[in-house]
C-alpha cells in the first residue's frame, strides 16, 4: 500500500503546478460563472437568485435566434470551406521543395502571425464601397460598387473570407505536416494502378491523414463556434452596438460580451455562455462518435 503511494506520488507532484493553477484560475471561475448564471448579477450589486430566469430570458430574447442561425450558417460554411482551402494550400506547398516550399509556407502562415485588429483594419479598407480594393477591381470589370460590409447579403461571406484568410495558414501547416508523413509508396502504388492526381488525393491522401484532419476539423469547429473578434472588429462593433447591419454578423460570444459589459447583465451573459458550452460539447461529442464509427486506421 505505502509502496504504491510512494510510486504514484511523483506523478501527482509533477501535475501539481498545472492542476493547481488550473483549478484556481479555470475551474473555480467556470464553476462560479455557472453559479452566477442563476443569479441576477450586475457587477458589484447584490445578487439575487433567479433560478433559470437568465436562461429563459436569453432563449426568448430577440437576438438569440438570430445569433444562433447566424452561427449555424457561419459554421457550416466556414469550417468546410476553410479546411478545403487549407488543404489545397497544403497540397500546393507540398508540391514545392526547398526554398520555395519554405517561402510559401511562411507567406501563407503570415496572416496567423499578424495581430487581428490589424487584419481587420485592412480588410475593412479592402471591402470599402466604391474605393476599396475589391470594389476598385470590380469597377474595372464594370460592376457596380458593392457595400460589402453593409449589405445583409454579402456580410456573412465577407466575414467568412476574412476568417478563412486568418485561419487557413494555421490549418495548412498542420495538414502539411500530416502530408509529410504519408508514405510515398502509397502514391506510387496508386500511380501504377492508374489513379490520376485527383484520385490520388481522394483515395490516398485524405484517408491517410484522417487523424490530422480529425484534429483540424474538431479544433476548427470549436473555434468557429466561439467566433468573436473578427466579426466584432469587422463591423466596428462596440458594447453599445454590435452585430452589424440587421444583426447579420451577430454571434453568441459577441452577444455575451455585449450583455455583460454593455448592458451589465453578467448573469445573463454567463447563462448564455454555458448554453454555448453545451452546444460545443455536443458538437465535439458528435465528432468523436463519428470518428469511432468510421473507425480509426
Amino acid at each position: 500500500m505505502s509502496a504504491r503511494v510512494t510510486k504514484t506520488t511523483p506523478h501527482y507532484l509533477m501535475l501539481l503546478p498545472f492542476m493547481l493553477l488550473f483549478a484556481v484560475f479555470f475551474l473555480y471561475p467556470i464553476v462560479s460563472g455557472l453559479i452566477y448564471s442563476f443569479f441576477d448579477w450586475a457587477g458589484a450589486q447584490p445578487t439575487t437568485f433567479v433560478a433559470l430566469e437568465n436562461y429563459t430570458k436569453v432563449l426568448n430574447s430577440r437576438n438569440f435566434n438570430k445569433a444562433a442561425s447566424n452561427l449555424l450558417l457561419y459554421v457550416s460554411i466556414t469550417v468546410p470551406l476553410g479546411l478545403t482551402i487549407a488543404f489545397c494550400l497544403a497540397l500546393l506547398v507540398d508540391s514545392f521543395s526547398g526554398f520555395w516550399a519554405k517561402f510559401f509556407r511562411s507567406a501563407f502562415f503570415m496572416p496567423v502571425v499578424m495581430p487581428l485588429f490589424l487584419a481587420a483594419t485592412i480588410w475593412r479598407w479592402m471591402y470599402a464601397p466604391n474605393f476599396g480594393l475589391l470594389n476598385t477591381i470590380l469597377g474595372w470589370f464594370g460592376f457596380e460598387s458593392v457595400q460589402f460590409l453593409n449589405n445583409v447579403n454579402t456580410m456573412l461571406y465577407c466575414l467568412i473570407a476574412v476568417d478563412v484568410w486568418v485561419s487557413a495558414g494555421f490549418n495548412m501547416v498542420i495538414i502539411l505536416a500530416g502530408l509529410k508523413n504519408v508514405p510515398k509508396h502509397y502514391y506510387e502504388a496508386a500511380r501504377l494502378d492508374g489513379a490520376n492526381k485527383l484520385q490520388q488525393i481522394f483515395y490516398v491522401t485524405i484517408p491517410s491523414i484522417r487523424p490530422v484532419l480529425f484534429f483540424v476539423v474538431t479544433y476548427s469547429l470549436i473555434s468557429a463556434l466561439q467566433v468573436f473578434d473578427v466579426p466584432w472588429l469587422l463591423t466596428g462593433s462596440s458594447f453599445a452596438e454590435y452585430g452589424g447591419r440587421a444583426n447579420t454578423l451577430l454571434f453568441p460570444v459577441m452577444d455575451i460580451m455585449g450583455r455583460g459589459f454593455g448592458a451589465v447583465k453578467f448573469g445573463q451573459a454567463a447563462a448564455y455562455g454555458f448554453m454555448l458550452t453545451a452546444l460545443i460539447i455536443a458538437v465535439t461529442a458528435v465528432m468523436f462518435a463519428l470518428r469511432k464509427k468510421v473507425g480509426e486506421v
Binding site: L15, P17, G132, F228
Partner: protein, 305 residues
C-alpha cells in the same frame, strides 16, 4: 525483294514511333508546363493576398504625410523619412517603449510559465498511468470548450481578491494553466519512444530527471511551436490586460494601440498605422526566427488528434 520490303516497313515503323514519341513528349511537356505555370500563379497570388496587408501597412507608415490613405492604394513606400519620423513620434510621445517592455515581459513570462507548467503535466498525462488520470485530463479538455467571455469576470474578481491588480503576476499567472498547450504537448509526447524513458530509468534518472534530461529536450519542436502560438496569443491578448492591469504604467502594446485606434482619437492615420505596425513587429520576428520548427512540432501534435 522481301528484304527490301521488310526494311521499308521497319523504317516506316520507326518513323511512326519517332513522331508519336515526339508528340507524346510534347504533350507531356505542355501538360507539365501548364501545371507548373498554374501552380506558381496560384501560389504567388495566395502569397500576395497573405502578405499584402502587412506590406500595405508598411507603405502607409512610410509614405508622404497628408495623402489620403484609403483611396490611393499604397503599393510601395514613398517616404522613408516620414516613416522614421512617425516611428520617432510614437516612441517619444507615447508610452510605447514602456508598453513594449511590459508586453515583452508579459509574453515571455507567459511562454516560460506555460511551457514549464504544461510540459510537466503533459509529461505525466502522456507517458504514465496513475489513478485519476483520465478524469483529470477530461476535465481539462472540457474547459477548452467554455468560451473565455464567460470566465473573464470571475477570473478577474479572483485576481483582484489576490491583490494582483496592476501587477505582472496578475497578468501572467491566471493564464498559465493552458489547456490547449497541455493538449498539444500530450499529443506530441505520446509519440516519444518508451524505450528512451526506460533507458533513463535504468540509468538511474529519477522521475524529474527523466522529464528534465530526456523528455524536455526531445520535445523541443513541440515546445517551440507552443511558444510561437503562445507568443501570438499573449501578444494579441487584449481583454485580459485591459481589465486586470488598467494602470497606464502596466499598459501592454495592445492597449496602447487601442488608444490610437479609438474612434475619437486625435491622431492621424499614419500615426495610428505606425502604432499598429510596430505592434506587429515582435510576433513577426519571433515567427521568422522559429518558423522552421513549427511544422515538425505541429505535425506530431496534430497527427494523433
Amino acid at each position: 525483294m522481301s528484304d527490301v520490303a521488310n526494311m521499308e516497313v521497319s523504317v516506316a515503323r520507326s518513323k511512326a514511333t519517332g513522331t508519336r514519341r515526339a508528340s507524346e513528349a510534347r504533350r507531356r511537356i505542355s501538360d507539365a508546363t501548364v501545371w507548373t505555370v498554374l501552380k506558381w500563379t496560384i501560389a504567388i497570388c495566395v502569397a500576395i493576398v497573405a502578405i499584402f496587408p502587412l506590406w500595405w501597412m508598411f507603405n502607409v507608415v512610410f509614405s508622404e504625410p497628408g495623402v489620403p490613405v484609403s483611396i490611393n492604394p499604397r503599393l510601395y513606400p514613398t517616404s522613408i523619412s516620414a516613416g522614421l519620423r512617425n516611428i520617432a513620434i510614437i516612441f517619444t510621445e507615447t508610452g510605447y517603449l514602456r508598453a513594449y517592455y511590459i508586453s515583452v515581459v508579459y509574453t515571455l513570462l507567459t511562454i516560460g510559465g506555460i511551457l514549464l507548467v504544461s510540459s510537466m503535466a503533459a509529461f505525466e498525462f502522456a507517458l504514465f498511468d496513475f489513478p485519476g488520470k483520465k478524469i483529470m485530463f477530461a476535465i481539462v479538455m472540457l474547459s477548452l470548450m467554455v468560451p473565455k467571455a464567460v470566465t473573464l469576470v470571475p477570473t478577474y474578481l479572483l485576481t483582484v481578491q489576490l491583490g494582483w491588480l496592476n501587477t505582472m503576476q496578475g497578468l501572467v499567472v491566471p493564464g498559465l494553466a493552458s489547456a490547449f498547450g497541455l493538449f498539444m504537448l500530450v499529443q506530441f509526447m505520446k509519440s516519444l519512444p518508451t524505450e528512451m524513458i526506460e533507458a533513463a530509468r535504468l540509468d538511474g534518472a529519477n522521475h524529474f530527471q527523466i522529464y528534465l534530461h530526456v523528455v524536455l529536450p526531445l520535445s523541443r519542436n513541440a515546445l517551440v511551436t507552443l511558444a510561437i502560438l503562445t507568443f501570438m496569443h499573449t501578444w494579441g491578448n487584449f481583454s485580459w490586460p485591459l481589465i486586470v492591469a488598467p494602470n497606464p504604467t502596466m499598459y501592454t502594446v495592445g492597449q496602447v494601440v487601442g488608444l490610437f485606434n479609438a474612434p475619437y482619437s486625435h491622431t492621424t492615420v499614419d500615426i495610428a498605422m505606425t502604432a499598429n505596425l510596430l505592434a506587429a513587429v515582435p510576433p513577426l520576428i519571433f515567427f521568422l526566427i522559429f518558423q522552421r520548427q513549427i511544422v515538425e512540432g505541429i505535425a506530431s501534435s496534430g497527427s494523433k488528434g
